[in-house]
């Protein structure tokens, strides 16, 4: 199979198949829904970081004591910020999901949003003895249910509206008055169905969130494993190899689970425990470090003009974890000369930190950090553990050593091409 036939296969078969998958309404809406809670989780992470000073219990003196004093003095409202920001992530995902569905179907937003929030509260919350609602399922535990409610409630409402009884208002009535009245029967039908579902769950002594989590628990366990990490790393890179945005495509499937794992870790830390899920959305950032190591390997050994030029342009973006100049400049796309080491490097990016967390050498990441923060700082902040920097350096050395022979070989090929072109140009003169 030569490069051209692979390229044709990618254009004609692979890209349409992936485009079809990512264009499924549920997948598209899920992507938007999960992204909707990013800002809130970011703000919540900052509150949590201030609330729980990132130092071992034995540490003392200087900034450690100052931070602890600050945390103790502000504990009440810091906890409130954390609860509203991070511990209501399910609720924000619901809002993002309903917005995405309504945008996609060009459906009225407000009524569907109200119905979805009503349904979410109804299906997720149970009453506490002595009054009040148990909102334990608004955070990590309620994310999968939020995606389902956010998708199916507007869909159900719109289906009932299309097929059910309608009150047709005269055209002279403004839409903001006509819409709620026209939707009154479909809304009533939706509420009745939601209540029926609630009663069924209540009869079994459970809630939607608990039920969905029990259904998905094998998936969460499977996701939080070394095999899953390696499959994810390799799949993302194979997609990038074919010029497809691997992180976006694979992320459409796994981001919801990784976000749930991340919030569960944050909840565990906030309640004084230890994070348990290694493969979460913060850990995911470890799996994208390889580009910088490839650039460093190029800088160390490249002699050809092309690679030297690419390394100059790519270094600064790569320091901030932006990989496109390297991916398209080196290029990494359909470059069989470095394909195998390229895959190994990214597999190591998942393997080394995973094993470090698994064997207790490094804390499991539990803090969200923007992906453009330079990696060496980011890995420390995500786990609040200086040992993460050591793991990063070990990972860097291993990856650079793996890349060097392949880059040398590729560089020699480019150098020969450049010489040949120069000779041709001279001969032409």
């Amino acid at each position: 199979m030569n490069r051209e036939s692979i390229s044709n296969w990618v254009q004609e078969k692979l890209i349409p198949a992936i485009a079809k998958f990512t264009s499924f309404k549920f997948v598209k809406c899920m992507q938007e829904g999960v992204v909707a809670c990013m800002n809130a989780t970011m703000i919540g992470s900052i509150f949590m970081l201030m609330m729980i000073p990132p130092f071992p219990a034995t540490a003392s003196g200087g900034i450690v004591d100052a931070w602890r004093a600050f945390s103790a003095a502000n504990a009440g409202w810091l906890n409130m910020g954390y609860q509203i920001g991070l511990n209501a992530a399910g609720f924000y995902i619901l809002i993002g999901m309903v917005n995405a569905v309504c945008k996609h179907d060009k459906a009225p937003l407000v009524n569907n949003m109200v119905l979805a929030i009503f349904s979410y509260i109804c299906l997720q919350c149970s009453f506490l003895e002595g009054g009040g609602l148990d909102i334990g399922f608004w955070g990590a535990k309620g994310m999968m249910a939020a995606l389902l409610v956010g998708y199916f409630v507007p869909e159900l409402n719109m289906w009932l509206r299309k097929h059910g009884i309608k009150i047709k208002m005269p055209d002279s009535v403004p839409p903001f008055i006509a819409d709620p009245i026209e939707e009154i029967f479909s809304s009533f039908g939706t509420v009745a169905i939601v209540f029926a579902v609630k009663l069924i769950f209540a009869a079994f002594g459970t809630t939607l969130g608990a039920f969905v989590n029990s259904l998905f628990s094998p998936l969460f366990s499977a996701t939080d494993s070394l095999t899953a990490v390696l499959i994810y790393c390799i799949l993302v890179r194979i997609l990038w190899f074919f010029g497809l945005h691997g992180n976006n495509i694979a992320g459409a499937v796994v981001n919801a689970v990784l976000m749930q794992n991340f919030v569960a870790n944050a909840e565990a830390v906030a309640s004084g425990g230890q994070p348990t899920y290694i493969f979460n959305s913060a850990f995911q950032q470890w799996t994208t470090q390889g580009i910088l190591f490839i650039v460093l390997a190029v800088i160390l050994v490249a002699k050809s003009e092309q690679l030297k030029a690419v390394s100059k342009v790519s270094l600064a973006p790569a320091l901030f974890n932006i990989g496109e100049p390297t991916t398209f400049g080196l290029p990494l796309i359909l470059n069989f000369d470095i394909f195998v080491p390229y895959l190994i490097v990214f597999a190591l990016n998942g393997l080394i930190p995973y094993l470090a967390c698994k064997f207790g050498f490094m804390n499991i990441p539990y803090i969200d950090v923007p992906f453009t923060v330079p990696a060496i700082i980011k890995v420390f902040v995500m786990s609040m553990d200086f040992r993460a920097i050591l793991v990063y350096l070990v990972n860097a050395v291993a990856c650079i050593l793996i890349m060097i022979p392949a880059i040398k070989k590729y560089d020699a090929k480019l150098l020969a091409q450049e010489h040949a072109e120069a000779n041709e140009a001279e001969a032409a003169l």
């Binding site: 800002n39 970011m42 509150f47 100052a66 004093a69 502000n74 600064a316 453009t372």
Partner: protein
Amino acid sequence: MNLLIIGLKIVLILSWCLTVLDVVKLYRADTGVKMVFDWLSYINISGTIGLTLVALFAVIESSTYVFTACLILLTVVMVWFLKLRLMIAGDHKALLGSKMIEQSDIRRVYTKFMTLYVETRNETIKLYAPVTDRSVTMRLYNAGKRR
């Protein structure tokens, strides 16, 4: 010390006010102004908002004077760092950091090492890692190309 921390909190509020004022000025001066940001910029803005909330609500207490003061100072720096990187455009004008320019004045737009350079009739404006959206960058780029 209490007064110093209150003063710093006021500086922090003023820094946000100045940032918002720049945006409001653009809104008033032009049409078609949209507050659109890409995902990374949103994360950037929400991080700064989170830090601002913590800094503003921090209690003023003798045991935490220095830490609180440093935290507020850091937040003020972050807000200014955000303000100077903000890039929004309307139909005819654009806000580049704290400078408002006419799009018709743009001669050239180019990038170098995470920095966006906007060359206008009078000066070249530099924006390090702009907080913006791709559509805004393209609008300015096209404005420069039309010259």
